[in-house]
């Protein structure tokens, strides 16, 4: 399996641990990643907020370069995933859109290839047997809440690998790593996203509700696939009893016995070390 890889900006800064763990587990699973040469930011939530053309031109340039590589694109950040996929879908459906996009980015783009999220590729294309075959250190006894947030599952017209109201892809993946997954109601609730600086108290309320929901369901940690959700949930918890927020790829790496996973966990503001030690996982 070979993909054009779109890392996204956060993978090289605030979510460096998501980037390195994603690359490490892909290597382990035989998924070959060819980074899109000279990729640029997809514009995230601000592109579409400000300008309808910017919101497609920024992802469009990346997609057009990936098309030259002749490969489907693999994305790990849920927000980048929605942005790239939304441009790919529109381009696929409308010749007029393709024409304007080509003018904006000064490159042709035919939308010949797909945009996929790593969760979809691992669970649906590769299969959970391939995952459980590689587990060296089962995550036994670890109770986890899988949190999907918005853009992995919504809007279903654009991203459609799982049920928008009750997704299970990440739950099944975590179970195949040996963890115990809790049933909870917050799976697809919003964390407040980009309101974090402009209306911080809204994000604090929403993330507070999520953390409480996960904890009430018995979870010892929450698992995410989006650097924005991670940052909102991990960096603004206060008090003594904080809930570790982990990327699904970090847990895959841990279960696969990949060395140096602690370099990822050190990056978290809510340290997961005590929790992982208490289950003899580190």
């Amino acid at each position: 399996m070979k993909y054009a890889f779109y890392p996204g900006c956060t993978q090289e800064s605030t979510a460096e641990e998501f980037g390195s763990s994603s690359k490490a587990v892909c290597q382990k699973l035989g998924i070959e990643l060819k980074e899109i040469p000279d990729w640029n930011c997809c514009g995230a939530s601000s592109g579409h907020f400000l300008n309808d053309e910017l919101t497609h031109a920024l992802p469009g340039r990346n997609l057009a370069i990936a098309e030259k590589q002749g490969l489907d694109t693999l994305v790990v950040c849920a927000a980048c995933y929605l942005r790239l996929r939304s441009t790919q879908r529109e381009a696929k459906e409308s010749p007029e859109f393709r024409k304007r996009l080509a003018e904006l980015i000064d490159m042709p783009y035919e939308a010949k290839y797909e945009v996929k999220h790593l969760l979809d590729v691992v669970v649906n294309d590769l299969g959970l047997e391939e995952v459980s075959n590689r587990v060296k250190k089962p995550l036994k006894g670890l109770k986890l809440a899988a949190y999907y947030g918005c853009y992995l599952v919504r809007p279903p017209k654009i991203v459609a690998f799982d049920d928008p109201e009750n997704p299970t892809t990440m739950d099944r993946l975590l179970e195949s790593l040996g963890a115990e997954v809790v049933d909870w109601g917050g799976k697809v609730d919003c964390c407040g996203g980009s309101l974090v600086l402009s209306r911080t108290e809204i994000v604090l309320k929403l993330t507070g509700d999520l953390i409480k929901g996960a904890r009430d369901a018995g979870a010892e940690a929450m698992v995410v696939a989006c650097p924005m959700c991670h940052s909102n949930l991990d960096t603004r918890q206060s008090g003594k009893d904080r809930l570790p927020i982990l990327y699904f790829t970090e847990l895959m790496g841990l279960a696969f016995g990949i060395p140096k996973t602690d370099s990822w966990f050190k990056k978290h503001l809510v340290s997961p070390f005590n929790l992982l030690k208490s289950h003899d996982l580190i």
Binding site: C9, T10, E12, S13, T14, A15, E16, D38, W39, N40, C41, G43, A44, S45, S46, G47, H48, F49, L50, N51, D52, E53, L54, A57, L58, R61, E103, L104, I105, D106, C150, Y151, R154, P155, P156, P164, V188, D189, C190, G192, G193, S194, L195, L197, S198, R199, T200, I202, L206, T235, R236, K266, K267, H268, L269
Partner: protein, 200 residues
């Protein structure tokens, strides 16, 4: 322009100016068919931030249908929508409210309507600035731009954010030097073309 009486809550109604062309303008610019909304309330029930809005998402649709432009563009709703995509996922008429909100606040910005939530557009402008300069996000620059322009943080907020920034730096979660893509000219061109349609 005509005056329309609108009940905002059970006990309160307001006289609002209505602009019959507004509905058509919004439908044409957004491509969203707001006429289909029959006020079932599903959007608002699932909206995570409805509690913080002055008009609820379903009310914004109704105000648009009635052409009550000033009320819509002056609302906090069009800035606070978090683009979580729940309403469009659940709406029985597939009305794309987040996209409609984008169209609405873009009209407000273009027409110079003072935003009810000024920090929100300041954030988004601060977010795209590093992309314009470097082709990728540069969080330190974005945050500094936001703090300087928004001027909303109290001393305590600043201290909280500074200590968060330091904690992130200690863990090397913030890059000190900006990222830089090679073909910056391509990015400049994209911005120039995309923004040429916007009026300042």
């Amino acid at each position: 322009m005509q005056l329309t009486s609108v009940s905002v809550t059970k006990n309160e109604s307001r006289q609002l100016k209505s602009d019959p062309l507004f509905r058509e303008e919004v439908e044409a610019l957004s491509g969203v068919n707001i006429s289909r909304c029959y006020q079932c309330f599903t959007c608002t029930l699932g909206c995570p931030v409805a509690y913080a809005m002055d008009y609820r998402p379903n009310q914004i649709i109704r105000l648009c249908q009635l052409g009550l432009k000033d009320a819509v563009l002056g609302s906090s709703t069009i800035w606070i929508c978090a683009s979580c995509e729940s309403c469009v996922t659940r709406c029985p008429n597939e009305i794309d409210i987040p996209h409609l909100m984008d169209t609405l606040h873009q009209i407000a910005l273009r027409e110079g309507v003072p935003p009810k939530e000024p920090a929100v557009p300041i954030f988004h402008r601060a977010f795209v600035e590093p992309i314009r300069r470097f082709g990728r996000q540069y969080e330190i620059m974005m945050t500094v731009l936001f703090i300087l322009k928004a001027r909303k943080f109290s001393f305590k907020d600043l201290r909280t954010n500074a200590s968060l920034g330091l904690n992130m730096m200690k863990r090397r979660k913030l890059k000190l030097t900006p990222p830089l893509i090679k073909n910056l000219a391509a990015i400049e061109e994209i911005f120039e073309k995309a923004e040429s349609g916007e009026q300042k």
